[in-house]
């Protein structure tokens, strides 16, 4: 749908704030897991992937270790496939290592209803039996519809359901920033 019918309300993160936040999350991940042993970072397409890659880079910078990076396309696991008119594009899922007994850091841009994460958990578990799965998100905007919470949060942003969080990333959108947009009418939400 793009950004038609949406009005920009505020920029809540700029490039520098985003960079600092990812640095903090990368440190928290290493601290909580007492190092990088068995870690695998898995980004949820689309914007979880560049975020995951940046966290991987940060960890390499201060730990000198390249943590394996995967990407997950959850389309085939969505719970709303029956209700959308055109089948959404399915991109590939690439998990470069065996996930058995690994610690998976699942990365996404925005945590909202929790349905995307539910789909991601189901898909990951089809690849094996990780020791644990932890969730890292840039923005937690509330409004959960499932009992899911994040282990690492960049920023909690209370929102109304008429608002939309737009995460722009250099790799996908040419610039790094996070905006709050407001819908002109009550169009569907994700």
């Amino acid at each position: 749908m793009g950004e038609e019918g949406l009005r920009e309300k505020a920029i809540i993160l700029d490039a520098q704030a985003m960079r600092r936040m990812l640095t903090r999350i990368a440190h928290e991940i290493v601290e909580r897991n007492k190092g990088t042993k068995d870690l695998v970072i898995v980004g949820i397409r689309r914007r979880g992937v560049p975020l995951a890659r940046r966290i991987q880079t940060k960890i390499r910078e201060f730990e000198g270790i390249e943590v394996p990076l995967g990407m997950l396309d959850i389309t085939l696991y969505r719970d709303d496939l029956q209700t959308i008119s055109h089948a959404p594009v399915v991109r590939t899922t690439e998990i470069p290592v065996d996930v058995d007994n690994r610690i998976i850091i699942l990365v996404d841009d925005v945590l909202y209803t929790g349905r995307t994460v539910r789909a991601a958990l189901d898909e990951l578990i089809d690849f094996g039996r990780p020791r644990s799965i932890q969730l890292a998100v840039l923005i937690d905007r509330g409004h959960r519809e499932l009992p899911i919470r994040a282990d690492y949060v960049g920023k909690n942003v209370p929102t109304s359901s008429r608002e939309v969080i737009a995460v722009n990333m250099e790799e996908e959108d040419g610039t790094d920033c996070v905006k709050i947009l407001e819908m002109d009418d009550d169009e569907g939400k994700e």
């Binding site: 396309d73 029956q82 209700t83 959308i84 925005v110 939309v164 995460v167 939400k189 994700e190």
Partner: protein, 318 residues
């Protein structure tokens, strides 16, 4: 694929190159699902597929069944022997009865050209043509093009030779539509009696000399020669055909050194394809079979989806 309220895959002739490329891209993602430890995704959970095969088929039927299982659809199978068809039921009545049981998809293989189009008009379920007479076999066309694209990295600009019984081949027709839409140069080759009149109108060139057709070819797709063609006097003998048109290592020397050798199966070794070519390292016949499952998953997935007009995925927003 008609993109109105009901979606069918009846032929490749009516698809745009964009729709074909979309299906090929989805196929790549499905191919990756097949390689996972758990080879199953829940995308078609709760959907039911009826596989109606009015002609014998092993490969295509198994391939569709597997694709349905990989997507978690339920399937029911119907073949003509021992069924109500043997009791004289018409195709229209059969499909209406099966639809009344609540199916979402009908996969149809039938000996009459146009059967899938006919059924699509009769039922609300999405219809997938699994081969209709001498008309089209769209999923075979897609899997052949997918295999070429994966192996050679592109389709546009390639020279593809299709050798065999072009006139009676739905595989040839679907291949020609897909290949020409994606910008390949297609040459068809076979005896005059097995080349349809005006085939050039489909955007291909014709050759009656196999060496000429294979010259510089990046791909050769070898079609099965059926014994029935002897009965209708279109061929003097299989030996005569093999002498003139069998694809042999010797004849392949003029092709591109990395030529892809394809065959939709089942092969008549020593007739349309020489024994040594059937074993040649450049043949991708088994890749075609694997890709067939992924292509059918992609087609089923694309045809699914509800009636509502909710916007699809707010990309970049959540």
């Amino acid at each position: 694929m008609r993109m109105d309220d009901k979606r069918d895959l009846l032929d490749l002739e009516s698809l745009s190159s964009v729709e074909i490329v979309d299906l090929l891209d989805t196929t790549r993602s499905m191919r990756q699902v097949i390689d996972r430890p758990v080879k199953k995704v829940p995308a078609l959970r709760g959907k039911t597929v009826a596989n109606l095969f009015y002609e014998p088929s092993t490969r295509t039927r198994l391939s569709f069944e597997l694709a349905e299982k990989r997507l978690t659809a339920d399937s029911i199978n119907f073949s003509t022997s021992g069924s109500s068809v043997a009791k004289g039921e018409t195709l229209r009545d059969t499909v209406r009865n099966i639809e009344a049981m609540g199916v979402d998809f009908v996969v149809l293989r039938h000996g009459s050209s146009g059967a899938a189009h006919f059924v699509a008009r009769e039922v609300k379920a999405s219809v997938i043509n699994a081969g209709d007479g001498t008309h089209e076999h769209p999923t075979q066309g897609l899997l052949d093009v997918y295999t070429i694209r994966e192996k050679l990295g592109k389709v546009a600009g390639l020279r593809v030779a299709i050798v065999g019984d072009i006139a009676h081949s739905r595989v040839a027709r679907s291949n020609i539509w897909a290949l020409t839409k994606l910008g390949a140069e297609v040459v068809v080759c076979g005896p005059t009696t097995l080349i349809p009149a005006d085939v050039e109108l489909m955007g291909v060139t014709v050759s009656h000399q196999v060496e000429e057709a294979l010259e510089g070819a990046h791909v050769v797709n070898i079609l099965r020669i059926q014994q029935e063609r002897l009965k209708s006097n279109l061929l003097p003998s299989l030996r005569e055909y093999a002498l003139q048109f069998s694809v042999t290592s010797e004849r392949l020397r003029v092709a591109h050194p990395e030529v892809l050798i394809m065959h939709p199966g089942p092969m008549n070794r020593g007739i349309e394809i020489a024994q040594e070519v059937a074993e040649d390292g450049r043949n991708v016949i088994l890749d075609q079979v694997t890709n067939g499952v992924a292509v059918r998953m992609a087609v089923l997935y694309h045809l699914s989806g509800g009636e509502s007009l909710l916007p699809v995925g707010l990309e970049g927003v959540a």
